[in-house]
Every structure is written in structure tokens, then in C-alpha cells.
Amino acid sequence: MDKGLIEKLNTFHVIFLVQNVIIGMNLLTLPHDMSAMGYNQWWILFIIGVLAQLTLIPMYLLGIRYPNQNLYTINEILLGKWLGKLSNLVLLVYSLLTIATVSEVYIRLVQTVTLPERTVRVPLFLLVCVALYIAHGGIKAVARFCILGFFATIWLVYYLQWGLQKGIFVHIYPLLNLSMFEVLDGLREGSPAVLGYELMLLYFPYIQHQKKALRHASIGLWISVATYVAVSFTSVVYFSEWQMEHLMYPVLNLFKAVELSFLERIENFGIAIWIFLILTTISAYLWAAKISLDSILEKRRAIYFVLVGLVVSYPWRGVISLKLQAFLFEHLVIYLGYLMVLWPNLLLVIHWIRKRLGGINP
């Protein structure tokens, strides 16, 4: 169990933590989310990958300067106690919203496709229970589950070939058929998909080879981007623009194209397996939320897990209005994600200023 600040994440843990936390629900809907880009969406993902890579560098630089502190404690060191706690509270809200969004979208898919005769409440509760169980084991348990999740799901990429076989490759032309404004719009639509690596600063103190952390995190990031590009490219050749715009879960339909002699309707299988990707994402954010509570309340208690779990699984979503839900789950969570990605830059600047003034000694 996770009891102290010991360095315990090895190379593979870091790679797959980054990789698997990134891939959650977004991959299922990605070609739909980026449908405004039409057939040009697949190469925009490369740009998003490069942008993510660039924002990874300040995280590493900050982490390496505070090798024994996580983001929450760095916040308190650099911003002072109350401002630090306030920013930690924002991060807590972000984690909770992410868990709520990811689990909500997945459970809704399960309800529509696999369990059409049930409501979502019980499956959601069970999902959060399992995620709590994983997160309760600490970040190393989450990392180990990420490795398991990777090998349990990566072979699904093989089934893209049915889509590619049926696809029309002329769709990828004309290349670069977008104006500057449209490219920016595409970046806005596609970027939420790569969020997840920003948690690195939370588990940075646990990493064994901190100096190589940037390289390992980058490998994880680019595995995810490559998966995204593969799925997006297959969608581009397999679907028409109308289909990408109107299908809520294009990846589901990519699975539907698969014909095997011994197995039919593999998409049901795919949705079930997808739970690995959802669980890794949710459990990592649960862990992040829990240590956030730890730092805000200045106590390390396991009961916080239950608290967090209750908040995300309790059907309070029925209470708030749909308009507010849409704002929370579709907009606020993404803006907070961007904030969290850019946050280390701010902290680095403050670190630099305070170092110049001679008031800091990490």
C-alpha cells in the first residue's frame, strides 16, 4: 500500500502511466470530435502531439528542480499556503470533473449498446468501486494496472485493418485543405484527447530515474498519439464526412466492420475490453484527487478515497441542470485541463523570480 514518498516507479511504469492515462474515453469519440476538420483530421493530431511534447518539457524542468515534491506541495512552496491550497482545490475540481466525464461517457455507451434495458446507476457505482480499489493501492498499483491495460487493449488496433481494406484512400487528399483558422479550431477540438500526461508532476517524486523521466513520458505520449493517428486515419478512409459528423462513437463502427469466421459483432467485445482504458484513466485521477485532499486537509487518510468516490458516483448529476452539466463536462473540464498543462510554466517563472530574489531553497 502507498504509505510514503519512496521512489518506486520504474521506466515501464512511467511510460505506461503516461500512455494509458491519456487514452480514455476520447479515443472512442475522437473522429467525431474532430469531424469539423473532415478528412484532414489525422495529420492535425501530429501537431497536437508536438504541442503536448512542448508542454511536457516545463513539467519536467519543474519536477527536476523539486525532486521530492509533488505539484500540490510545489504550489504551496511557490505560491504560499493559502494561494497554494486554492490552486490545489482547483486541481481537485479538475480531477473530479475528469473522472465524472470519462465515466459518464463510457457508462452511457455501455447503457446504449450493451445493457439497453438497465439504467446507468449500478454499473457506474461498480465502475467507480473497481477504480477506487485500484487507486487505493497507490500510484504503483495504478501504473501496474496501466501496463496490464495496455497489453489487454493494444491488440484491438489489429482490427483496424477491416476498415482500411474497405476504405477509400483518395479521401486523404487534398492534403492541407484547411485555413489557418480551421487548423486552430482543429487543435481546440482535438487537444482534450491528449490530456492525461499533466498528472506526471503528481507522481514525479515517485519516479526512480527522474533524469530520464522526460524521455519516458515522451515515449508514452507518442504511443498514444500514434494510436490516435492510426484510428483517425482509418476513420478518414472508412467513413464519409457525414458519418464522422453524425456517428457518436466512430470507433464502435470501425469494430462493427470486422468479420471473423468464429466470432461476430466484435464491437460488444471491444466495449467490454475498453473498460481497461477507462479504469486506468479514472483510477489515476482518483488517486490525484485523493492526494489533493491529503494536501488540502493536511492529513493522509484512506477515507478520502471513499469521499472522492461518492462525489463522482453519487447521482448528483440528475440534480443539476443539463445546461450546467454541459458546461461542466464539456467546457470547464477542458479549460481546467489546459490550465493544468500550462500551470508549470507559471510556476517555473515564479521559481525563477524567487530564486533571483534569493528567497527559495527547495
Binding site: L126, V170, N177, S240, W242, R265, A302
Partner: protein
């Protein structure tokens, strides 16, 4: 640790409540898996819907159950059909959707196909076909020498080389083309002929309404232009100018085919250059040429090239006249166009297009019978299943000199 124990207890309590559910989900044997769904025209709003499902019970007299109802949408049909059946109707194993010609002409197939596409229970690999007369008549008839009809129709419409003159469109493909920016639909047309069900023609669609047909021969050329790798056998009747023999019959077995489309000119008036490369074996030949002579052999190839060029051009002009484009040529125009693209632009481009078809026809063999031992005018009977190693490419002439 106590916390974990409490967790597990809660989990157990939650899971055990599953036993208390009163209305159970139907088990597999309680489900009636609809295999074929058909739509006949009744009025502009409603259709006569026919469904068939395989009957697994050994005591049943018939192997297939058939139900009819009147409804606007597939889901509505399920609702009204359920009280008639002892089983819970399910669309999870739907394999084939049929439309009568009248329905496809008057109502159009878009709404039904979209309705099925929206339903997550329905797979994407469901074949779509058009039926001459009524679907009810076709599905209700007895076919003595056929397997169960759900199975039979699925197998009939499944991609096979022998029927590769249509595009084997599934629900996904139909939606793809209906809402695509370029290509139009070409669906197989089923006819009931002397106790058989046969794919006789290809139904052409403008948007979602049937407007015309292609013969299977035209369908084959359409598929060759679409660069389908495997094509069914084809026969040609040509005139050999130099030997003076008219009505020479040649049957060829396409080994591989490929086509490259180049576009010149803008969106307003594009000109298409279609280069087809075909490797084939000659299965039957009634001409006067000596096929062992390489020069003569080349002449046969040239004759076939001219004939395919002519027929390809004829097909494209026919399609242009009908205003439908199942050959997916305008996609190449779209691929060169920067900016927003609409279906109307594809239609306009195709209407103003010019075509040039060029075929490179390579005959890779004539079978294993020495040609000179046969009367020049008689039909060559050649082994169909032989020479597969020749199929791998263009083998130099001397290596397949026959009968020496």
C-alpha cells in the same frame, strides 16, 4: 484493511441484488433473431414489412418463420410484430435488408437505412438488395433445392468473385454513399426465376431513389474501373479484321485487374483518363488465330483491349446520361480541389466530364491443351482450375508454350 473489507461487503450486497430482478432479460433461446427484413410499397408513409427468422425447433414443420406487418420504420415493425411471435424479436442477427423495386423508386431507401444504422443492435455488415416484384412474394415462395432462406440470401449476397459485378453494399456502405460527396449507389437486383433467386442486374440510384439499371456485364466493367482486384469471368464477341472472322467468342477469366484514374482540368469540366491493367486467362476462343504464335497472341490481346476500351467508354457515357456515378471517379476531382466540397459539385463535374479509357490487357495463358490439335473454328475447352502459378504474373511466352 477494514475499509477494503467494508468495500467488498458493499460490492457483494450490490451484486447479489441481481438475483432479485423480476423481469429477466430474455435468454438466447427466447430471442427471435430476424435474419431478413423486407420492405414493400404500401403508401408514401407506410410500408408492408416482412421479416423472416430461422426456426431452430426440430418439431417445427417449416425451417423459417415469416411475419408481416404494416409500419413506417423497422423499430415500429418490431413493436407490432412482437405480440405475434412467441419469441422476443431481435435485430441483432439481421443479415439482409430487401426493398421492392416500387418502394425504392417511390419512397427511397434512405430513411429505413438510417433508422437501422442508428440502432446499435444492428450490425454494419448487413447486405442491402432490391427485389423485382414484391419482397413478400420472393420470401414467401418455396425453394425446394435451397437451404433456409435467411442463410441462402446472406450467402448469395456475400462477396464472392463470381458475383463481383456489384459492390456488395452493406448498411455502412449504403450510408457511406448516400451521404458521401461523390459516388452513387449500385445495389444488386434480385429476381425470382424458375424456383431460383438470382442476381440479374444492378440497380442504380440517384440519391436514395432507384432510377435505372446496369446489366451484369456493365457492372463488371464498372467494378474494373473502381479497381476491384478480383473480377468474375467475362465473355466478348469480337470481329477479327485481318482473318476476316466475325463473331469470335472469347471467354476470359480475370486473374487480377487494377485501374488508375487521372484527372485533368478543373471541377467545371474535368477529363478523366482511366488506365486499366488486366491480367487474364483465355478460357474459350473461337477465332482463327494461332495462339501458339506470339505475334498472333498479341493480336488477341489488342482485340480485347479495343473491346474493353469501347465498352468502358460506352458505360461511362450511359452513366453520364443517367446522371449517376457508381464508379467513384469524381472522388479524384474532389481530391484535387481545395475548399469545401458538395455532392452537387460532383454531379456537375460528372455531367460535364470527358472520358478516355485505355486498357492494357495481358493474356497470361490459354490452358494446357495444344491449340494446333484442335480444329481452328471449334471452341477451345480449357482447364479452368489450372495455371494458377501463371496467375502470379506475366510469365514470358516461351515458358508457357503449349504442348511441345
Amino acid at each position: 484493511m477494514r475499509l477494503v473489507a467494508i468495500f467488498q461487503l458493499c460490492l457483494l450486497a450490490a451484486l447479489s441484488s441481481g438475483c432479485a430482478v423480476v423481469m429477466e432479460r430474455p435468454a438466447l433461446e427466447d430471442l427471435g433473431m430476424i435474419g431478413v427484413m423486407g420492405f414493400d410499397y404500401l403508401n408514401p408513409r407506410q410500408a408492408k414489412i416482412v421479416v423472416t427468422l430461422p426456426e431452430p425447433s426440430k418439431e417445427a414443420k417449416e425451417k423459417t418463420q415469416m411475419y408481416k406487418t404494416i409500419a413506417a420504420f423497422p423499430n415500429e415493425a418490431l413493436m407490432t410484430l412482437s405480440p405475434k411471435s412467441e419469441k422476443t424479436m431481435s435485430l441483432a442477427q439481421l443479415r439482409v435488408v430487401l426493398f421492392s423495386e416500387e418502394y425504392a423508386r417511390k419512397v427511397g431507401i434512405r430513411e429505413v437505412i438510417e433508422n437501422l444504422y442508428r440502432n446499435p443492435a444492428v450490425g454494419d455488415n448487413v447486405f442491402v438488395a432490391i427485389v423485382k416484384g414484391s419482397v413478400e412474394g420472393l420470401m414467401g415462395a418455396k425453394y425446394e433445392n435451397k437451404p433456409e432462406i435467411n442463410q441462402f440470401l446472406n450467402d448469395l449476397l456475400h462477396p464472392r468473385r463470381d458475383t463481383a459485378f456489384h459492390s456488395f453494399l452493406t448498411i455502412h456502405d449504403t450510408i457511406f454513399r448516400l451521404h458521401g460527396e461523390t459516388s452513387d449507389l449500385d445495389l444488386p437486383y434480385l429476381e425470382q426465376q424458375q424456383g431460383d433467386i438470382q442476381i440479374t442486374k444492378i440497380a442504380l440510384f440517384k440519391r436514395d431513389k432507384l432510377i435505372g439499371f446496369l446489366t451484369d456485364r456493365e457492372g463488371k466493367i464498372n467494378q474494373a474501373i473502381r479497381a476491384r482486384l478480383q473480377l468474375p469471368d467475362m465473355n466478348f464477341t469480337i470481329t477479327e479484321e485481318d482473318t476476316g472472322k466475325k463473331h469470335v467468342e472469347i471467354v476470359v477469366d480475370f486473374v487480377t485487374s487494377d485501374s488508375k484514374v487521372k484527372v485533368h482540368g478543373g471541377v467545371e469540366a474535368p477529363s478523366f483518363q482511366i488506365d486499366m491493367k488486366i491480367y487474364a486467362r483465355v478460357l474459350a476462343y473461337t477465332g482463327r488465330r494461332d495462339l501458339e504464335n506470339p505475334d498472333e497472341w498479341v493480336k488477341v490481346e489488342k482485340d480485347l483491349e479495343h473491346e474493353l476500351d469501347r465498352q468502358g467508354l460506352e458505360l461511362l457515357k450511359k452513366l453520364q446520361k443517367l446522371g449517376v456515378e457508381p464508379a467513384n471517379l469524381t472522388d479524384y476531382v474532389r481530391a484535387k480541389y481545395h475548399g469545401e466540397w458538395h455532392k452537387e459539385m460532383a454531379e456537375k463535374a460528372f455531367a460535364n466530364a470527358k472520358f478516355a479509357v485505355h486498357t492494357d490487357f495481358v493474356v497470361i495463358g490459354f490452358g494446357t491443351l495444344q491449340t494446333s490439335s484442335i480444329e481452328p473454328d471449334s471452341m477451345l475447352a480449357l482447364g479452368r482450375n489450372q495455371g494458377m502459378q501463371q496467375a502470379l504474373g506475366h510469365i514470358p511466352l516461351q515458358t508457357i508454350q503449349m504442348g511441345n
